[in-house]
Protein backbone atom coordinates (compact mmCIF):
# COMPACT_ATOMS: atom_id res chain seq x y z
CA UNK A 1 0.00 0.00 0.00
CA UNK A 2 2.69 2.43 0.86
CA UNK A 3 4.81 3.43 -2.06
CA UNK A 4 7.37 4.75 0.33
CA UNK A 5 8.43 1.41 1.65
CA UNK A 6 8.88 -0.78 -1.37
CA UNK A 7 10.45 1.24 -4.16
CA UNK A 8 12.04 4.21 -2.53
CA UNK A 9 15.56 3.62 -3.68
CA UNK A 10 14.69 1.70 -6.81
CA UNK A 11 15.92 4.47 -9.04
CA UNK A 12 19.28 4.58 -7.31
CA UNK A 13 19.97 0.89 -6.95
CA UNK A 14 18.52 -1.11 -9.83
CA UNK A 15 20.05 1.00 -12.55
CA UNK A 16 23.63 0.09 -11.78
CA UNK A 17 25.03 2.54 -14.29
CA UNK A 18 23.45 5.98 -14.40
CA UNK A 19 22.80 7.55 -17.79
CA UNK A 20 24.48 10.74 -16.64
CA UNK A 21 26.81 11.18 -13.72
CA UNK A 22 28.15 14.50 -12.55
CA UNK A 23 31.19 13.76 -10.45
CA UNK A 24 32.34 16.57 -8.17
CA UNK A 25 31.63 19.14 -10.84
CA UNK A 26 32.32 22.81 -10.19
CA UNK A 27 31.98 25.90 -12.28
CA UNK A 28 33.78 29.05 -11.31
CA UNK A 29 33.56 31.99 -13.69
CA UNK A 30 36.88 33.81 -14.16
CA UNK A 31 35.82 37.13 -12.69
CA UNK A 32 33.72 35.80 -9.84
CA UNK A 33 34.79 34.62 -6.44
CA UNK A 34 31.77 32.54 -5.59
CA UNK A 35 31.36 29.42 -7.73
CA UNK A 36 28.17 29.14 -9.78
CA UNK A 37 28.20 25.40 -9.15
CA UNK A 38 30.23 23.93 -6.31
CA UNK A 39 31.38 20.31 -6.19
CA UNK A 40 28.10 18.90 -7.36
CA UNK A 41 27.68 15.16 -7.66
CA UNK A 42 24.51 13.87 -9.21
CA UNK A 43 23.43 10.63 -10.84
CA UNK A 44 20.62 10.62 -13.36
CA UNK A 45 19.15 7.19 -13.98
CA UNK A 46 18.16 5.82 -17.36
CA UNK A 47 14.62 6.73 -18.34
CA UNK A 48 13.89 9.06 -15.44
CA UNK A 49 12.77 12.65 -15.49
CA UNK A 50 14.95 14.53 -13.03
CA UNK A 51 13.79 18.05 -12.33
CA UNK A 52 16.26 20.67 -11.13
CA UNK A 53 14.28 23.29 -9.31
CA UNK A 54 15.33 26.24 -7.23
CA UNK A 55 15.16 30.01 -6.89
CA UNK A 56 16.63 32.27 -9.59
CA UNK A 57 20.38 32.36 -9.58
CA UNK A 58 20.81 29.05 -7.78
CA UNK A 59 22.75 27.64 -10.70
CA UNK A 60 20.18 25.19 -12.00
CA UNK A 61 20.52 26.31 -15.62
CA UNK A 62 24.29 26.34 -15.31
CA UNK A 63 24.13 22.80 -13.99
CA UNK A 64 22.01 21.70 -16.93
CA UNK A 65 24.37 23.34 -19.40
CA UNK A 66 27.35 21.61 -17.81
CA UNK A 67 25.90 18.29 -18.94
CA UNK A 68 26.15 19.07 -22.66
CA UNK A 69 29.15 21.28 -21.99
CA UNK A 70 27.51 24.44 -23.25
CA UNK A 71 29.37 25.58 -20.16
CA UNK A 72 32.70 23.93 -19.54
CA UNK A 73 33.19 22.69 -15.98
CA UNK A 74 36.08 24.19 -14.06
CA UNK A 75 36.71 20.86 -12.36
CA UNK A 76 35.11 17.47 -11.96
CA UNK A 77 34.03 14.87 -14.46
CA UNK A 78 30.93 14.32 -16.57
CA UNK A 79 30.16 10.68 -17.29
CA UNK A 80 27.67 10.10 -20.10
CA UNK A 81 26.43 6.56 -20.61
CA UNK A 82 29.50 5.18 -18.87
CA UNK A 83 31.90 7.27 -20.91
CA UNK A 84 33.92 10.16 -19.57
CA UNK A 85 32.93 13.02 -21.88
CA UNK A 86 34.64 15.79 -19.94
CA UNK A 87 37.14 16.39 -22.70
CA UNK A 88 35.72 14.90 -25.91
CA UNK A 89 34.65 17.15 -28.79
CA UNK A 90 31.61 18.96 -27.38
CA UNK A 91 29.87 19.21 -30.76
CA UNK A 92 29.87 15.43 -31.10
CA UNK A 93 28.55 15.10 -27.54
CA UNK A 94 25.75 17.60 -28.19
CA UNK A 95 24.53 15.72 -31.24
CA UNK A 96 23.74 12.84 -28.87
CA UNK A 97 21.78 15.01 -26.45
CA UNK A 98 18.50 16.77 -27.21
CA UNK A 99 18.41 20.35 -25.99
CA UNK A 100 15.31 22.48 -25.51
CA UNK A 101 15.43 26.05 -24.22
CA UNK A 102 12.69 28.39 -23.09
CA UNK A 103 13.18 30.76 -26.02
CA UNK A 104 13.17 27.74 -28.34
CA UNK A 105 15.57 29.30 -30.83
CA UNK A 106 14.09 27.82 -33.98
CA UNK A 107 16.02 28.81 -37.10
CA UNK A 108 13.77 31.52 -38.58
CA UNK A 109 15.13 31.11 -42.12
CA UNK A 110 14.38 27.40 -42.27
CA UNK A 111 11.11 25.57 -42.65
CA UNK A 112 9.76 23.52 -39.77
CA UNK A 113 10.89 20.36 -41.56
CA UNK A 114 14.42 21.71 -42.01
CA UNK A 115 14.55 22.78 -38.38
CA UNK A 116 13.54 19.32 -37.18
CA UNK A 117 16.03 17.74 -39.61
CA UNK A 118 18.98 19.69 -38.17
CA UNK A 119 20.71 16.97 -36.18
CA UNK A 120 19.91 14.09 -38.58
CA UNK A 121 21.57 16.19 -41.31
CA UNK A 122 24.61 16.83 -39.14
CA UNK A 123 24.83 13.08 -38.62
CA UNK A 124 24.62 12.50 -42.37
CA UNK A 125 21.36 10.57 -42.53
CA UNK A 126 19.93 9.70 -45.96
CA UNK A 127 17.30 12.05 -47.35
CA UNK A 128 14.49 9.51 -47.32
CA UNK A 129 15.21 8.53 -43.76
CA UNK A 130 15.25 12.19 -42.71
CA UNK A 131 11.93 12.89 -44.41
CA UNK A 132 10.26 9.92 -42.75
CA UNK A 133 11.73 10.86 -39.38
CA UNK A 134 10.60 14.50 -39.65
CA UNK A 135 7.01 13.50 -40.40
CA UNK A 136 7.06 10.97 -37.59
CA UNK A 137 8.30 13.58 -35.12
CA UNK A 138 5.87 16.28 -36.19
CA UNK A 139 3.09 13.78 -35.85
CA UNK A 140 4.37 12.78 -32.42
CA UNK A 141 4.27 16.34 -31.07
CA UNK A 142 0.86 17.01 -32.57
CA UNK A 143 1.79 19.11 -35.59
CA UNK A 144 0.09 17.61 -38.66
CA UNK A 145 3.07 17.12 -41.03
CA UNK A 146 1.29 17.97 -44.28
CA UNK A 147 0.12 21.22 -42.73
CA UNK A 148 3.25 22.33 -40.88
CA UNK A 149 6.20 20.77 -42.71
CA UNK A 150 6.77 23.71 -45.05
CA UNK A 151 5.85 26.53 -42.72
CA UNK A 152 8.33 28.94 -41.19
CA UNK A 153 8.76 29.51 -37.44
CA UNK A 154 7.22 32.99 -37.61
CA UNK A 155 3.97 31.36 -38.73
CA UNK A 156 3.66 29.33 -35.52
CA UNK A 157 2.10 30.23 -32.17
CA UNK A 158 4.21 29.99 -29.02
CA UNK A 159 2.85 26.57 -28.16
CA UNK A 160 3.34 25.23 -31.68
CA UNK A 161 6.86 26.62 -31.77
CA UNK A 162 7.76 24.80 -28.56
CA UNK A 163 6.27 21.55 -29.91
CA UNK A 164 8.53 22.07 -32.90
CA UNK A 165 11.42 22.74 -30.52
CA UNK A 166 10.78 19.43 -28.78
CA UNK A 167 10.50 17.63 -32.13
CA UNK A 168 13.81 19.14 -33.21
CA UNK A 169 15.48 18.07 -29.97
CA UNK A 170 14.22 14.52 -30.56
CA UNK A 171 15.47 14.66 -34.16
CA UNK A 172 18.08 11.92 -34.11
CA UNK A 173 16.36 10.01 -31.30
CA UNK A 174 18.83 10.97 -28.54
CA UNK A 175 18.69 9.00 -25.31
CA UNK A 176 18.95 12.14 -23.24
CA UNK A 177 16.97 15.34 -23.36
CA UNK A 178 17.94 18.52 -21.54
CA UNK A 179 15.11 20.99 -21.09
CA UNK A 180 15.67 24.48 -19.70
CA UNK A 181 12.32 25.91 -18.60
CA UNK A 182 10.78 24.67 -21.84
CA UNK A 183 7.25 25.79 -21.03
CA UNK A 184 8.18 28.91 -19.07
CA UNK A 185 7.20 31.45 -21.71
CA UNK A 186 3.90 29.86 -22.64
CA UNK A 187 0.45 30.87 -21.40
CA UNK A 188 -0.90 28.76 -18.50
CA UNK A 189 -3.56 26.89 -20.46
CA UNK A 190 -1.24 25.91 -23.29
CA UNK A 191 1.50 25.12 -20.78
CA UNK A 192 -0.76 22.67 -18.97
CA UNK A 193 -1.63 20.99 -22.25
CA UNK A 194 2.02 20.79 -23.31
CA UNK A 195 2.99 19.35 -19.93
CA UNK A 196 0.36 16.63 -20.24
CA UNK A 197 1.40 15.82 -23.79
CA UNK A 198 4.99 15.74 -22.69
CA UNK A 199 4.19 13.26 -19.93
CA UNK A 200 2.24 11.09 -22.39
CA UNK A 201 5.14 11.23 -24.84
CA UNK A 202 7.65 10.39 -22.14
CA UNK A 203 5.63 7.38 -21.02
CA UNK A 204 6.19 5.98 -24.53
CA UNK A 205 9.71 7.25 -25.21
CA UNK A 206 11.30 6.64 -21.79
CA UNK A 207 14.06 9.14 -22.42
CA UNK A 208 16.42 10.27 -19.72
CA UNK A 209 15.39 13.84 -19.12
CA UNK A 210 16.87 16.62 -17.07
CA UNK A 211 14.33 19.37 -16.72
CA UNK A 212 14.99 22.80 -15.23
CA UNK A 213 12.21 24.94 -13.82
CA UNK A 214 11.70 27.51 -11.10
CA UNK A 215 8.09 26.44 -10.69
CA UNK A 216 7.73 23.90 -7.91
CA UNK A 217 4.29 22.81 -9.12
CA UNK A 218 5.67 22.09 -12.56
CA UNK A 219 8.52 20.20 -10.90
CA UNK A 220 6.08 18.09 -8.89
CA UNK A 221 4.06 17.36 -11.98
CA UNK A 222 6.87 16.50 -14.36
CA UNK A 223 9.51 14.91 -12.18
CA UNK A 224 10.11 11.27 -11.30
CA UNK A 225 12.64 12.78 -8.94
CA UNK A 226 13.23 16.37 -7.95
CA UNK A 227 16.45 18.02 -6.89
CA UNK A 228 15.76 21.17 -4.95
CA UNK A 229 18.79 23.38 -5.34
CA UNK A 230 19.98 26.29 -3.29
CA UNK A 231 22.91 28.66 -3.85
CA UNK A 232 25.87 27.34 -5.83
CA UNK A 233 23.66 24.49 -7.04
CA UNK A 234 23.92 22.71 -3.72
CA UNK A 235 21.29 19.98 -3.41
CA UNK A 236 18.93 20.76 -0.54
CA UNK A 237 16.84 17.67 -1.14
CA UNK A 238 16.73 15.06 -3.87
CA UNK A 239 13.86 12.64 -3.92
CA UNK A 240 10.53 11.67 -5.38
CA UNK A 241 8.06 14.55 -5.27
CA UNK A 242 5.74 12.80 -2.80
CA UNK A 243 8.60 12.28 -0.36
CA UNK A 244 9.66 15.89 -0.56
CA UNK A 245 6.10 17.04 0.03
CA UNK A 246 5.63 14.70 2.95
CA UNK A 247 8.98 15.43 4.53
CA UNK A 248 10.83 18.58 3.55
CA UNK A 249 14.27 18.13 5.12
CA UNK A 250 14.84 21.72 6.14
CA UNK A 251 13.34 25.20 6.26
CA UNK A 252 14.73 26.07 2.85
CA UNK A 253 12.88 23.21 1.20
CA UNK A 254 9.82 23.86 3.31
CA UNK A 255 9.76 27.51 2.24
CA UNK A 256 10.40 26.63 -1.35
CA UNK A 257 7.64 24.09 -1.72
CA UNK A 258 5.42 26.66 -0.07
CA UNK A 259 2.05 26.31 1.55
CA UNK A 260 -0.34 23.60 0.58
CA UNK A 261 2.29 20.90 0.36
CA UNK A 262 -0.04 18.46 2.12
CA UNK A 263 -2.73 19.08 -0.44
CA UNK A 264 -0.20 18.75 -3.26
CA UNK A 265 0.99 15.50 -1.73
CA UNK A 266 -2.50 14.07 -2.09
CA UNK A 267 -2.05 14.31 -5.87
CA UNK A 268 0.43 11.46 -5.71
CA UNK A 269 -1.87 9.05 -3.83
CA UNK A 270 -4.72 7.17 -5.42
CA UNK A 271 -8.07 6.00 -4.13
CA UNK A 272 -7.38 2.37 -5.06
CA UNK A 273 -4.62 2.28 -2.44
CA UNK A 274 -6.98 3.20 0.38
CA UNK A 275 -8.59 0.69 2.68
CA UNK A 276 -12.22 1.62 2.54
CA UNK A 277 -14.17 1.47 5.78
CA UNK A 278 -17.66 -0.11 5.82
CA UNK A 279 -20.49 2.36 5.27
CA UNK A 280 -24.23 1.90 5.89
CA UNK A 281 -26.09 1.33 2.63
CA UNK A 282 -29.60 0.33 1.68
CA UNK A 283 -31.47 -0.61 -1.47
CA UNK A 284 -33.82 2.05 -2.80
CA UNK A 285 -36.87 -0.26 -2.51
CA UNK A 286 -36.41 -1.01 1.21
CA UNK A 287 -38.85 0.35 3.76
CA UNK A 288 -38.26 3.20 6.17
CA UNK A 289 -38.22 0.90 9.19
CA UNK A 290 -35.36 -1.13 7.75
CA UNK A 291 -33.55 2.07 6.85
CA UNK A 292 -33.84 3.27 10.44
CA UNK A 293 -32.45 -0.02 11.73
CA UNK A 294 -29.40 0.17 9.47
CA UNK A 295 -28.77 3.80 10.34
CA UNK A 296 -29.11 3.19 14.10
CA UNK A 297 -26.69 0.28 13.94
CA UNK A 298 -23.97 2.32 12.21
CA UNK A 299 -21.84 5.11 13.70
CA UNK A 300 -22.38 7.30 10.59
CA UNK A 301 -25.12 9.91 10.39
CA UNK A 302 -25.89 9.28 6.76
CA UNK A 303 -27.29 6.34 4.85
CA UNK A 304 -26.36 5.67 1.25
CA UNK A 305 -29.26 4.59 -0.96
CA UNK A 306 -28.29 2.27 -3.85
CA UNK A 307 -30.18 1.10 -6.90
CA UNK A 308 -30.50 -2.53 -8.00
CA UNK A 309 -27.02 -2.44 -9.60
CA UNK A 310 -25.48 -1.03 -6.40
CA UNK A 311 -25.08 2.38 -7.97
CA UNK A 312 -25.25 5.14 -5.32
CA UNK A 313 -28.41 7.28 -5.64
CA UNK A 314 -29.11 9.41 -2.54
CA UNK A 315 -27.74 10.48 0.80
CA UNK A 316 -30.43 10.10 3.46
CA UNK A 317 -30.30 10.95 7.19
CA UNK A 318 -32.66 10.49 10.10
CA UNK A 319 -34.54 13.73 9.70
CA UNK A 320 -35.35 12.86 6.11
CA UNK A 321 -36.84 9.59 7.29
CA UNK A 322 -38.90 11.37 9.97
CA UNK A 323 -40.34 13.91 7.61
CA UNK A 324 -42.18 11.79 5.04
CA UNK A 325 -43.21 8.32 3.94
CA UNK A 326 -42.08 8.69 0.35
CA UNK A 327 -39.82 5.92 -1.06
CA UNK A 328 -36.13 6.15 -0.21
CA UNK A 329 -35.10 6.97 -3.77
CA UNK A 330 -36.95 10.30 -3.52
CA UNK A 331 -35.53 11.31 -0.15
CA UNK A 332 -32.47 13.27 0.90
CA UNK A 333 -29.81 14.56 -1.46
CA UNK A 334 -28.50 13.22 -4.76
CA UNK A 335 -25.04 11.63 -4.71
CA UNK A 336 -22.67 13.82 -6.69
CA UNK A 337 -19.27 13.04 -5.20
CA UNK A 338 -18.26 9.93 -7.12
CA UNK A 339 -14.69 8.96 -7.94
CA UNK A 340 -13.10 6.03 -9.72
CA UNK A 341 -10.37 3.95 -8.10
CA UNK A 342 -7.57 5.59 -10.07
CA UNK A 343 -8.61 9.11 -9.04
CA UNK A 344 -6.03 10.97 -6.98
CA UNK A 345 -6.78 11.74 -3.36
CA UNK A 346 -6.57 15.41 -4.30
CA UNK A 347 -9.52 15.04 -6.67
CA UNK A 348 -11.26 12.86 -4.11
CA UNK A 349 -10.92 15.52 -1.45
CA UNK A 350 -12.34 18.09 -3.80
CA UNK A 351 -15.34 15.84 -4.45
CA UNK A 352 -15.81 15.28 -0.73
CA UNK A 353 -15.91 19.00 -0.01
CA UNK A 354 -18.93 19.35 -2.28
CA UNK A 355 -20.68 16.31 -0.87
CA UNK A 356 -23.63 16.61 1.51
CA UNK A 357 -22.35 13.84 3.72
CA UNK A 358 -18.71 14.90 3.52
CA UNK A 359 -17.76 11.63 1.85
CA UNK A 360 -16.91 10.49 -1.66
CA UNK A 361 -18.33 7.32 -3.19
CA UNK A 362 -15.81 5.13 -4.97
CA UNK A 363 -17.42 3.50 -7.97
CA UNK A 364 -16.19 1.06 -10.57
CA UNK A 365 -16.54 1.48 -14.31
CA UNK A 366 -20.19 0.39 -14.31
CA UNK A 367 -20.98 2.86 -11.55
CA UNK A 368 -21.41 0.30 -8.77
CA UNK A 369 -20.34 1.27 -5.29
CA UNK A 370 -16.89 0.02 -4.22
CA UNK A 371 -16.78 1.88 -0.95
CA UNK A 372 -16.87 5.28 0.62
CA UNK A 373 -13.96 7.58 1.43
CA UNK A 374 -14.36 9.54 4.64
CA UNK A 375 -12.18 12.41 5.77
CA UNK A 376 -10.50 10.22 8.37
CA UNK A 377 -9.15 8.03 5.61
CA UNK A 378 -7.38 11.03 4.14
CA UNK A 379 -5.93 12.22 7.42
CA UNK A 380 -4.68 8.68 7.98
CA UNK A 381 -2.97 8.72 4.62
CA UNK A 382 -1.33 12.06 5.33
CA UNK A 383 -0.12 10.88 8.72
CA UNK A 384 1.20 7.68 7.20
CA UNK A 385 3.01 9.53 4.42
CA UNK A 386 4.72 11.79 6.90
CA UNK A 387 5.74 8.98 9.22
CA UNK A 388 7.09 6.90 6.39
CA UNK A 389 8.97 9.79 4.86
CA UNK A 390 10.51 10.68 8.20
CA UNK A 391 11.48 7.07 8.80
CA UNK A 392 12.94 6.94 5.30
CA UNK A 393 15.16 9.91 6.05
CA UNK A 394 16.04 8.86 9.58
CA UNK A 395 17.22 5.53 8.27
CA UNK A 396 19.46 7.44 5.91
CA UNK A 397 17.86 6.32 2.66
CA UNK A 398 16.93 9.79 1.58
CA UNK A 399 19.40 11.39 -0.68
CA UNK A 400 19.48 14.76 0.98
CA UNK A 401 22.74 15.82 -0.52
CA UNK A 402 24.71 12.86 -1.81
CA UNK A 403 28.46 13.29 -1.54
CA UNK A 404 28.36 17.03 -1.83
CA UNK A 405 31.62 17.40 -0.01
CA UNK A 406 31.93 21.10 0.52
CA UNK A 407 35.64 21.28 0.03
CA UNK A 408 35.70 25.02 -0.47
Amino acid sequence: MSQLDDNTTQVDETATEPMIRLDQVSKIYPDQEIPAVETLSLDIARGEVLVLVGPSGCGKSTTLRLINRMIEPSSGRIIFDGEDVTSINPDLLRRRIGYVIQQIGLFPHMTIADNVATVPRLLGWKKDKIRTRVDELLDMVGLEPSQYRDRYPKELSGGQAQRCGVARALGADPEVLLMDEPFGAIDPITRDRLQNEFLRLQSELKKTIVFVTHDIDEAMKMGDRIAILKDRSQIAQLDKPEHILAYPVDDFVDDFIGSGSTLKGLSFERVRDLELAPYPTIRHDAGHAQARRVLDAAPQRWLLVLDELDRPLRWVNESHLDRTDRPLRDLGHPVRAKVEPNATLHDTLEAMLTSMAGCACVIDKRGSLQGVVEIEALTDVIRRLRTNARKHYEEGNGSVAPTTGTTA
Binding site: N68, M70, P90, D91, L92, L93, R94, R95, Y99, I101, Q103, I104, G105, L106, F107, P108, H109, M110, T111, T118, V119, L122, Y152, P153, K154, G165, R168, A169, G171, L178
Partner: protein, 218 residues
Protein backbone atom coordinates in the same frame (compact mmCIF):
# COMPACT_ATOMS: atom_id res chain seq x y z
CA UNK B 1 11.59 71.91 -74.48
CA UNK B 2 14.14 72.41 -77.18
CA UNK B 3 16.85 71.74 -74.57
CA UNK B 4 15.54 68.22 -74.03
CA UNK B 5 15.17 67.62 -77.75
CA UNK B 6 18.72 68.81 -78.24
CA UNK B 7 19.91 66.47 -75.55
CA UNK B 8 18.21 63.49 -77.19
CA UNK B 9 19.80 64.45 -80.50
CA UNK B 10 23.15 64.77 -78.74
CA UNK B 11 22.88 61.32 -77.21
CA UNK B 12 21.51 59.84 -80.45
CA UNK B 13 24.45 61.21 -82.44
CA UNK B 14 26.96 59.74 -80.00
CA UNK B 15 25.10 56.58 -78.97
CA UNK B 16 28.08 54.30 -79.57
CA UNK B 17 30.30 56.43 -77.33
CA UNK B 18 27.59 56.71 -74.66
CA UNK B 19 27.00 52.97 -74.70
CA UNK B 20 30.74 52.20 -74.54
CA UNK B 21 31.28 54.63 -71.64
CA UNK B 22 28.26 53.19 -69.81
CA UNK B 23 29.55 49.66 -70.29
CA UNK B 24 33.02 50.66 -69.02
CA UNK B 25 31.42 52.41 -66.09
CA UNK B 26 29.40 49.30 -65.34
CA UNK B 27 32.47 47.06 -65.56
CA UNK B 28 34.41 49.32 -63.19
CA UNK B 29 31.59 49.38 -60.67
CA UNK B 30 30.86 45.69 -60.82
CA UNK B 31 34.50 44.72 -60.33
CA UNK B 32 34.86 47.10 -57.42
CA UNK B 33 31.68 45.77 -55.85
CA UNK B 34 32.66 42.12 -56.17
CA UNK B 35 36.04 42.69 -54.55
CA UNK B 36 34.61 45.08 -51.95
CA UNK B 37 31.87 42.60 -50.99
CA UNK B 38 34.21 39.66 -50.63
CA UNK B 39 36.73 41.73 -48.71
CA UNK B 40 34.22 43.44 -46.39
CA UNK B 41 32.25 40.29 -45.59
CA UNK B 42 35.47 38.40 -44.92
CA UNK B 43 36.76 41.14 -42.62
CA UNK B 44 33.35 41.44 -40.99
CA UNK B 45 33.31 37.70 -40.24
CA UNK B 46 36.85 37.83 -38.95
CA UNK B 47 36.29 40.68 -36.51
CA UNK B 48 32.69 40.00 -35.47
CA UNK B 49 33.40 38.50 -32.07
CA UNK B 50 36.21 40.76 -30.94
CA UNK B 51 35.33 44.25 -29.79
CA UNK B 52 38.79 45.70 -30.33
CA UNK B 53 39.25 44.26 -33.82
CA UNK B 54 35.75 45.32 -34.70
CA UNK B 55 36.38 48.93 -33.69
CA UNK B 56 39.73 49.00 -35.48
CA UNK B 57 38.20 47.68 -38.72
CA UNK B 58 35.26 50.07 -38.60
CA UNK B 59 37.59 52.91 -37.65
CA UNK B 60 39.85 52.33 -40.63
CA UNK B 61 36.92 51.99 -43.01
CA UNK B 62 35.50 55.20 -41.53
CA UNK B 63 38.75 57.13 -42.00
CA UNK B 64 38.98 55.95 -45.62
CA UNK B 65 35.63 57.45 -46.44
CA UNK B 66 36.68 60.84 -45.03
CA UNK B 67 39.67 61.17 -47.38
CA UNK B 68 38.72 63.76 -50.01
CA UNK B 69 37.81 61.89 -53.14
CA UNK B 70 40.02 63.91 -55.46
CA UNK B 71 42.99 63.11 -53.27
CA UNK B 72 42.13 59.44 -52.93
CA UNK B 73 41.99 59.04 -56.70
CA UNK B 74 45.34 60.78 -57.06
CA UNK B 75 47.37 59.23 -54.24
CA UNK B 76 47.80 55.87 -55.95
CA UNK B 77 48.97 57.21 -59.33
CA UNK B 78 52.68 57.12 -58.37
CA UNK B 79 52.34 53.48 -57.43
CA UNK B 80 50.00 52.04 -60.07
CA UNK B 81 50.03 54.65 -62.79
CA UNK B 82 47.07 56.20 -64.60
CA UNK B 83 43.90 54.54 -65.87
CA UNK B 84 41.73 51.78 -64.45
CA UNK B 85 43.94 50.85 -61.49
CA UNK B 86 43.96 54.04 -59.37
CA UNK B 87 40.23 54.45 -60.00
CA UNK B 88 39.57 50.85 -58.95
CA UNK B 89 41.57 51.20 -55.74
CA UNK B 90 39.99 54.50 -54.74
CA UNK B 91 36.46 53.24 -55.35
CA UNK B 92 37.21 50.00 -53.53
CA UNK B 93 38.33 51.86 -50.42
CA UNK B 94 35.13 53.92 -50.48
CA UNK B 95 32.93 50.88 -51.00
CA UNK B 96 34.08 49.00 -47.92
CA UNK B 97 32.46 50.85 -45.02
CA UNK B 98 28.73 50.31 -45.76
CA UNK B 99 29.22 46.60 -46.42
CA UNK B 100 31.57 46.04 -43.51
CA UNK B 101 29.32 47.87 -41.09
CA UNK B 102 26.24 46.00 -42.22
CA UNK B 103 28.03 42.67 -42.15
CA UNK B 104 29.07 43.22 -38.55
CA UNK B 105 25.62 44.50 -37.57
CA UNK B 106 23.84 41.69 -39.39
CA UNK B 107 25.97 38.98 -37.84
CA UNK B 108 25.69 40.44 -34.37
CA UNK B 109 21.95 40.94 -34.57
CA UNK B 110 21.26 37.23 -34.97
CA UNK B 111 19.09 36.18 -32.02
CA UNK B 112 21.43 34.74 -29.36
CA UNK B 113 18.82 32.09 -28.58
CA UNK B 114 19.02 30.86 -32.14
CA UNK B 115 22.78 30.57 -31.82
CA UNK B 116 22.43 28.93 -28.43
CA UNK B 117 20.13 26.27 -29.82
CA UNK B 118 22.41 25.81 -32.84
CA UNK B 119 25.37 25.26 -30.54
CA UNK B 120 23.30 23.00 -28.32
CA UNK B 121 22.50 20.74 -31.25
CA UNK B 122 26.15 20.33 -32.08
CA UNK B 123 26.73 22.71 -34.99
CA UNK B 124 30.39 23.70 -34.88
CA UNK B 125 31.51 27.31 -35.32
CA UNK B 126 31.78 27.08 -39.12
CA UNK B 127 28.41 25.36 -39.46
CA UNK B 128 26.80 27.98 -37.24
CA UNK B 129 28.30 30.74 -39.39
CA UNK B 130 27.41 29.22 -42.75
CA UNK B 131 24.05 27.66 -41.95
CA UNK B 132 22.67 30.11 -39.44
CA UNK B 133 24.44 33.45 -39.06
CA UNK B 134 25.16 34.33 -42.69
CA UNK B 135 21.70 33.40 -44.01
CA UNK B 136 20.12 35.45 -41.22
CA UNK B 137 22.50 38.38 -41.70
CA UNK B 138 22.22 38.28 -45.49
CA UNK B 139 19.36 40.80 -45.89
CA UNK B 140 21.34 43.30 -43.79
CA UNK B 141 24.58 42.62 -45.68
CA UNK B 142 22.75 43.02 -48.97
CA UNK B 143 21.35 46.35 -47.86
CA UNK B 144 24.95 47.45 -47.26
CA UNK B 145 25.93 46.23 -50.72
CA UNK B 146 23.11 48.24 -52.27
CA UNK B 147 24.11 51.46 -50.52
CA UNK B 148 27.71 50.86 -51.42
CA UNK B 149 26.81 50.20 -55.05
CA UNK B 150 24.92 53.47 -55.32
CA UNK B 151 27.83 55.41 -53.84
CA UNK B 152 30.38 53.63 -56.03
CA UNK B 153 28.39 54.19 -59.21
CA UNK B 154 28.23 57.91 -58.50
CA UNK B 155 31.86 58.25 -57.46
CA UNK B 156 33.04 56.25 -60.46
CA UNK B 157 32.32 59.34 -62.58
CA UNK B 158 35.43 60.88 -61.03
CA UNK B 159 37.59 58.06 -62.38
CA UNK B 160 38.00 59.98 -65.60
CA UNK B 161 40.25 62.48 -63.77
CA UNK B 162 42.88 59.79 -63.42
CA UNK B 163 42.26 58.63 -66.99
CA UNK B 164 39.97 55.90 -65.75
CA UNK B 165 37.04 54.49 -67.69
CA UNK B 166 33.34 55.43 -67.49
CA UNK B 167 30.72 58.07 -67.96
CA UNK B 168 32.76 60.73 -66.18
CA UNK B 169 34.35 61.56 -69.51
CA UNK B 170 31.15 63.33 -70.63
CA UNK B 171 31.05 65.42 -67.48
CA UNK B 172 34.72 66.32 -67.73
CA UNK B 173 34.35 67.30 -71.38
CA UNK B 174 31.33 69.44 -70.61
CA UNK B 175 33.18 71.17 -67.80
CA UNK B 176 36.17 71.89 -69.98
CA UNK B 177 34.04 73.43 -72.70
CA UNK B 178 31.61 75.14 -70.34
CA UNK B 179 29.70 77.92 -72.15
CA UNK B 180 30.47 76.46 -75.57
CA UNK B 181 27.74 74.68 -77.59
CA UNK B 182 26.66 71.26 -76.30
CA UNK B 183 28.74 71.54 -73.12
CA UNK B 184 25.70 71.16 -70.83
CA UNK B 185 24.30 68.34 -72.97
CA UNK B 186 27.55 66.53 -72.38
CA UNK B 187 27.37 67.04 -68.58
CA UNK B 188 23.76 65.86 -68.56
CA UNK B 189 24.64 62.78 -70.54
CA UNK B 190 27.28 61.73 -68.01
CA UNK B 191 24.96 62.49 -65.09
CA UNK B 192 21.78 60.86 -66.36
CA UNK B 193 23.41 57.67 -67.56
CA UNK B 194 25.28 57.36 -64.28
CA UNK B 195 21.97 57.67 -62.43
CA UNK B 196 20.28 55.20 -64.77
CA UNK B 197 23.07 52.71 -64.25
CA UNK B 198 22.81 53.12 -60.47
CA UNK B 199 19.06 52.55 -60.57
CA UNK B 200 19.38 49.47 -62.77
CA UNK B 201 22.03 47.99 -60.48
CA UNK B 202 19.84 48.69 -57.46
CA UNK B 203 16.85 46.96 -59.06
CA UNK B 204 19.04 43.98 -59.94
CA UNK B 205 20.36 43.76 -56.38
CA UNK B 206 16.93 44.05 -54.85
CA UNK B 207 15.73 41.27 -57.16
CA UNK B 208 18.69 39.14 -56.12
CA UNK B 209 17.73 39.89 -52.53
CA UNK B 210 14.21 38.66 -53.09
CA UNK B 211 15.43 35.35 -54.46
CA UNK B 212 18.21 34.79 -51.96
CA UNK B 213 16.42 35.72 -48.75
CA UNK B 214 14.45 33.00 -46.99
CA UNK B 215 10.69 33.50 -46.86
CA UNK B 216 10.99 32.96 -43.12
CA UNK B 217 12.92 36.17 -42.54
CA UNK B 218 11.33 38.43 -45.12
Amino acid sequence: MSGITNWFDYVGDRWDDVWAASWDHFLLVIQVMIVATVLSVAVGIAVRNNTTLRNVALGIAGVLITIPSLALFTIFIPIVGLGFKPAFIALLLYAILPILRNTITGLREVDPNVLESARGMGLNATQRLVRVQLPLAWPVILAGIRVSTLITTGFAAIATLVAGPGLGIFIKDGLRRLGLPLSMESVWTGTIFTILLALILDVVLSTIGRFTTSRGVR
